[in-house]
Subunit: 212 residues, 2 copies
């Protein structure tokens, strides 16, 4: 019985080693050899758990996805829609060290999936999940009158904003602090609320249109 448990534990350790290497040296350094060394294992032993390099990477990425989903699932209930949206979005941004690693993995994974078809399916899964999350937030906000009613186009905008902020946080962590990231999100939520309000006063928006 401890067999299986140990196997799971080993795979978990290996994934942590992958994340450490990627964080420290970048995805290109996350070779089988380097990960094995980082985990204190031999190559052969690693290959006992993961038959190929793609499998290892895919498992690492899946672990990250699971982590994020589990964090979202354990969010404490929040009655206020606006605060609820902020809480969820905060979980999706690289605000602390743990999520910063996940974000860098996501970025590296995304760019590798452009080339490695074996990773594409999983990358798409992550993409779809995030987009669905954005849609859920907007549906929730819209029901409370805090966002426009055409969810589709707003989903694209919020999703792009999130991923764009994530990219910026990854390449310029000095500029994009947790504070500035949260400020950008807050501003977007403010804007959505104002749009929802403006939509109920069409004269205003018509005026702004003629002005241009």
């Amino acid at each position: 019985m401890p067999k299986v448990v140990d196997a799971i534990e080993r795979r978990r350790k290996l994934v942590e080693a992958v994340l450490r290497v990627i964080r420290r040296d970048g995805l290109e350094q996350a070779s089988v050899r380097n990960v094995a060394r980082e985990a204190g294992l031999s190559m052969g032993s690693l290959r006992h758990y993961f038959a190929s390099q793609s499998e290892l990477m895919a498992f690492a990425f899946r672990t990250v996805i699971d982590r994020i989903e589990s964090r979202l699932a354990t969010l404490e209930p929040e009655p206020d829609p606006r605060r609820r949206a902020e809480r969820v979005l905060a979980e999706l941004l690289p605000l602390d060290d743990e999520r910063r690693v996940e974000n860098e993995l996501w970025l590296a994974f995304t760019s590798r999936a452009l080339v490695d078809p074996a990773l594409r399916e999983l990358r798409d899964e992550g993409y779809d999940a995030l987009r669905a999350g954005c849609r859920a937030i907007l549906t929730d906000l819209s029901a409370a009158g805090l966002a426009p009613t055409d969810i589709d186009v707003e989903t694209g905008r919020l999703h792009a904003l999130l991923d764009g902020l994530a990219v910026h946080a990854a390449i310029r962590p000095d500029i994009h602090t947790a504070h500035s990231l949260k400020a950008a999100i807050a501003r977007h939520l403010d804007a959505l609320a104002r749009e929802a309000t403006a939509a109920r006063a069409p004269t205003e928006s018509a005026l702004s249109r003629t002005v241009r």
Copy 2:
């Protein structure tokens, strides 16, 4: 005299070869050998023009930056601020094949710069240029009353939106068509204009704040 000209021409050909390889096989395939083969040259010959691999990549990226800037510089004058913003932003999105290649190069370059310090400076330069462009657009719009006056936070939002859309277009070109990208931008510009209007009627925004 034809010496220098030919040298420039050769470097240009080599950069085109780099872009072709990256587009076809991804950045990881853009090795010295592959690029030389693509350009119909020997490795030694390539290394006569570019002493190192980083130098070749950096030159390719600089060429792309120059291309974008030159396209922006040759935009025909547009009196209407809103249309002017749309024109500029359209140049910065991967709407056609040429810009799609540039976008993929940007993405690959960005993720490699996370690891290769030699590329970091140039990547920062591209980042700064794009951010400055966003700021200029918003300053322009704001002066026409078509965007809020706090340029700083709006710059971050627009910049993130642009890069997020670029990432999405790269990983899901089937979903993110030229049309949907332009729609997202148009929506953002609409929202900015409405925000500028709402800011002049603070009662409205105060109301929406108390609602939450």
